[in-house]
């Protein structure tokens, strides 16, 4: 593999828009792998280490990770115009497609066949999010304190339907207490 370029890449707002337009269109079942492919492997806007660092920030901050990534990367290369261009490129096509699917669902949703199709699709989509939950819980399997906090948060949000802000404050507070000694 060739070494990453030394000088930072020069990337315009138009490049950002087109690059993220491609990511939005190809990201079936998860956008992040496609984002990495475009940014690191194909266009070489960042090397692998810089990409991981930026991604860590985008995962740490609230909001969908890949949207944060578009804003942070666009901002780094071309200021607020770049951030806007990357965000618009990422969201434009998926929004149009999902509204088109929604319109089809509204027009034909009363047909028995379509209703059955949707029950099957929804059951499958449930499986995907259950798998996602299992995947992100897996790294905690040998951390009893973290698992206990996760279980409490789960109970509070799913069973008792506690308001999110209360769950976040209480859960993060417990996490900070648990991590005090390891700090």
């Amino acid at each position: 593999m060739p070494p990453p370029p030394e000088a930072p890449a020069r990337v315009s707002s138009a490049d950002l828009f087109l690059g993220f337009l491609g990511i939005g269109l190809s990201g079936f079942g998860g956008v992040l792998p496609w984002a990495r492919r475009m940014v690191v492997e194909r266009r070489r806007w960042l090397d692998a280490a810089s990409f991981n660092d930026l991604l860590a920030l985008c995962q740490f901050l609230p909001g969908p990770n890949v949207i944060n990534l578009s804003v942070a990367l666009g901002g780094r290369f071309a200021g607020w115009r770049g951030a806007l261009a990357a965000f618009a490129g990422l969201m434009l096509a998926p929004m149009a497609i999902v509204i088109g699917l929604g319109a089809l669902y509204t027009s034909y949703g009363d047909l028995a066949l379509v209703q059955h199709l949707f029950r099957g699709l929804a059951a499958g989509a449930s499986g995907l999010i259950v798998a996602t939950a299992a995947k992100i819980a897996w790294p905690l399997r040998r951390q009893p304190a973290a698992l206990a906090i996760a279980a409490l948060v789960w109970l509070a949000a799913a069973t008792f339907r506690a308001p999110l802000i209360a769950v976040l404050v209480a859960g993060t507070g417990l996490g900070l207490l648990a991590g005090w000694r390891a700090r």
């Binding site: 901050l61 609230p62 509204i99 699709l121 059951a123 499958g124 799913a158």
Partner: protein, 173 residues
Amino acid sequence: MMLPLTLFLTFAALSPLAFGGGNTILPEMQREVVGVHHWLSASDFVALYALAQAAPGPNMLVATLIGWRVAGLGGALAATFGLCLPSSFLTFAIAGLWWRFREASWRRWIQAALVPVTVGLVGAGAAVIAAGTALGLAAVLITALVALLTLTTRANPLWFLAASALAGMLGLV
């Protein structure tokens, strides 16, 4: 006129709370959309979530669909921008500071404290969605099978969604 504004504000209030990605706020979104505002029934919410999963792009397109269903194109834009703008402003503002504190122990301490909260909330989102789709034994089996295959194979999950939809069309669900 008021409805898009209400949508924007509802989703904008969720945005800065979405630690660990969009699925974290799924339980709260369902509570607001179904329970508080009565914009959709619980089963409609699940159907729109499934539809958003079948489309390409970021997984929070469910907000676009909810907005569109409640108030047309204006609603779609209001909900999407509401969900994205606050967190995007935060990211834009903080991206520059991030490097300076990357070695600071307090940053790692906070990050470690957020992980179990994210895990619990994504689990709660999965429970809320799965409870809505568990319409019978066949549906539960499909959910379990798709979850298992997603965890144990590297196949594109879109194939599992297509197979689930086909199973529904054949009248299994």
